[in-house]
Every structure is written in C-alpha cells, then in structure tokens.
Symmetry: C2
Subunit: 259 residues, 2 copies
C-alpha cells in the first residue's frame, strides 16, 4: 500500500513538540520504567489529556543531567485541540516547572522527529574561575583554570568535516551503525569566565559532544596538544581519548529538518 | 579608652568575607534556630575550623530565595590561616555548593560589614516570554507579557534621589528608623527576553527593591502610569503600592565601603 493512502486512511494527527527542559532532576530523556524521565512526564500528561496511552518519539536521547532548549518530539493522536496553542498551554499547566513545551504544531504524517532530522546543534558551557559561581550549579562545567581559546579553536578546526568519530563515541559497540559523522561547525566564544562551545553536525554519536568537549578542554589547559588530537581522532578508539565533560554543561539547542 | 588602644590590645583578627550564594534552598541570610540559613552554614564551618563558636555579621539580611553575588560579612577570631586564600579554600571545601566564599581578607578592627557600608547595589532579573524557560527557574521572575522599557525608565527616574520610601518598605513599623533613603541610580537594560534592573542606593528598606520592582513592572505592563508612581511615592504608605516582585529574581550584587 503506498504511503499516501495510508496517510489518508489514518484518523490520527501528527503533533510536533518543541520542548525545553532542565535535565538536573531527570534520568535523561528516555523512558525507563517509572524513573523520572522527560519522556515519561510528557507521555503521562498527554495520556491524561487524550484519556488513552500516548507514546512520543524524541529526536534523540539526552543523558541524565543534560538540558534541552529545543528538543523535538512527535506523537500521533486523534485530532483534538485544533488550536495548538491551547494544547501547549494545557501541557504546560500539567507538566512540572522544569519541562516546558515551547511550541506545538500539526505536521505531515510522515514527519519523524528522529528520522527526518538533518542536523543538530548542541552547546557546552564552561565556567572558568578559581571559585565556582553558585548560580552556575548544574548549568555549566566549573574549571579552576583559564583555558587557551586559540589552541582550542585550532583543535576544533581539525575535527570539522566528515570523520570516523569512534574515538569520541562512548560504548561504540552499542550500535552496529557507522561511527562516521560530519561536523559542520564548532564555534568557541568567551565572555568573562564563561566559554560557550557550539557544535553543529549531521548527527552525534553517544556522548560525542561530551567526549569532544573533554578533549578540547585538555587542549585549552595545556594537557594535550593539537597533534595529539589528530592522533586520537585517527586512532578510532575511545580508550585513546580523554574522559567526557560532565553532563550538566550540555544543552541540546536545536534540531534541523528539511523545510 | 581611645579606640586605637583597644585595637592594639585585641588578640583577634577581623576577617572580611565576600560571599556568593543561591538563595533557593535557604531561609534567607539570618540565623533562625536550626533552619537552613546562609549565616548558620558559614558559622558552622568557621566554628569547626577554629574549634570554638564564631559569629559572623552580614552587611544586611536577604530574604528566603534571594541570591547574592557579593554579600559581605565579617567576624573576629584569633589569627589563623595567615594565607587568607587557604582559609577561603578551607571554607569552600566544607560549605555546600550553593554557598561560595569568593574572597577572604584581613581588615582593620573597626571595619563592620553593615555599619561601614556606604551604599549597595541590587539587581532584579525578569524573563519576559509567553512560555517560561526551565533554565531560568528560581533565577528570574517569569512574566508572560512584554514590558514597555521606556515608561519603566521614566518611572525609575522619578524614584531617583532622596525620598521617604515608606510606600516601598514592607513592615515599615518594624523599625523606628527613618524611611528616607537615596537612590543613586536605576539602570534598566534588556537583552532578548531578559530585563535587568540594577539599583544603586545609600541603603534599602525591608523589601524595598522587590517593592520598587513590583511597581516598575506594573508601569511596564501598562497597569500603572508615571503619575500614579509619583502619587504612590508621595503617599508614604505601603498600602498604596503594588505587591512586591517575588524573591527569586533578586540579587545582592555589591556592597560599597569607604576606601
């Protein structure tokens, strides 16, 4: 049966959500029994609104402690809330404060938050000062030392483009898929004690942004040089690379789709 | 006995602390039995380090939920930790993450964090967007509506200078002191959904910054006009003024002293 006829026979609407959350209190995005996860919280509220179980599909998982400014998810359900703003407000009324639905939209039946995604942007925040800032708790990685931005930028340039990022993928055996990805851009900016590393790529392997950030920070504090970064990338072996940056400095910022 | 001879006979050192804290978890600055307060937490660690009870004196109280970037306190204790950086690090090692000692200094015996203060700066943060930002939880006041900055600035200009601020003091009967204060500056700036109101004044009455902010926000959202602000100030009566802005958007930024 061609897809289009399936679509027409479907009595369901495909809803697309833009979601922001503070990951601190959650065991990550993905449902795991009754553990507090973002997926579970949203599904519980949707199931309540529709009076039947509803499953949502995220653009990808985020780990415990990781935040999102623009996570995307979709779900199929009978048409209700013709005014999607009302649905957004109803969801926010029931959801806990640390999860907010920024937007709800009705999309074509074949839109899939994960499989339709063309690229993603992540941000990693560092706070470099001898003494930590209590207001930055759970929001950025506190580093006592100042980092050398110019060497970090040089190392980042080496990572751009299409590579086998196996050295920067935790549990690379977890998936049988390729570990080749394309990094379109790594932007490193500083404002006082705050350093922001923004990654834009075709897709990211498990813990890839945290692993890349862990390596870039070691370049910034002088424990690694540019040549060593090139060697680590070439090794295609996670055990060659430095440990990941902690989860609480990481933000899923934006998921891109074909127009 | 002249003060200078008293100082010389004192076997104690006067230590001055610069303290930053996230107020969310605390019942404010001031000790109240065993309730979690910033004063209690710091005194407990100091008393442990000196093996005897130590009392600290803050530049002023902050309410439950109010944050500080540069609260000042002092205490007298026998000279230990000639290297004040070591004392700072020892304090931070024992204190909870949401309280950080930014600086420790030995000061003259007659320095008093409260009585020597010549002026103070506070900041109030607003976040204006239809949907709240989970990362701003407990850090700023979420307002659904956009505010008109230009009328807020006009209202702020009316409040500058020396006035009887009784209309902006909660529990004005609490103290028998004057309710006259001098506001040196109110700076209102915006960056996207974030509005920052910075107050610099000779001193602030109880809840004065939150009461002023509550009134300025009402001007910004059109519920009050400039003339009404002038009338409220003139009334010298708290019941004429709008309710205070919530505590969690308020930051004690800096305490000024004579050089």
């Amino acid at each position: 049966m061609p897809r289009s006829s399936l679509q027409k026979s479907s009595p369901e609407t495909n809803y697309r959500l833009v979601i922001s959350y503070r990951g601190t209190r959650f065991r990550g995005w993905q449902k795991q029994g009754s553990s507090p996860t973002i997926q579970l919280e949203i599904e519980q509220v949707l199931s309540r609104l529709w009076s039947r179980p509803i499953i949502i599909h995220g653009s990808g998982r985020t780990d415990t402690g990781v935040h999102a400014l623009g996570q995307i998810a979709h779900f199929h359900a009978p048409l209700r809330f013709k005014d999607t703003r009302k649905l957004r407000n109803a969801l926010n009324a029931y959801l806990p404060d640390d999860i907010r639905i920024l937007d709800v939209r009705k999309v074509l039946d074949d839109f899939h938050s994960r499989f339709s995604a063309t690229s993603k942007e992540y941000e990693y925040l560092l706070f470099c000062r001898e003494v930590a800032d209590p207001m930055e708790l759970n929001r950025s990685w506190h580093l006592r030392r100042k980092l050398d931005l110019s060497s970090m930028k040089q190392a980042a340039a080496l990572l751009l483009g299409t590579h086998d990022f196996a050295s920067f993928a935790s549990n690379p055996g977890y998936s049988r898929e390729t570990t080749v990805r394309t990094l379109h851009r790594i932007q490193i900016t500083q404002k006082g004690p705050r350093i922001r590393i923004r990654y834009h790529g075709s897709g990211f392997l498990y813990r890839m942004v945290r692993n890349l950030t862990g390596a870039l920070v070691r370049v910034g504090d002088g424990r690694l040089n540019i040549e060593e970064i090139a060697k680590i990338l070439k090794a295609k072996n996670r055990s060659e690379a430095p440990p990941p940056a902690p989860a609480h400095g990481l933000y899923l910022v934006k998921v891109h789709y074909r127009k």
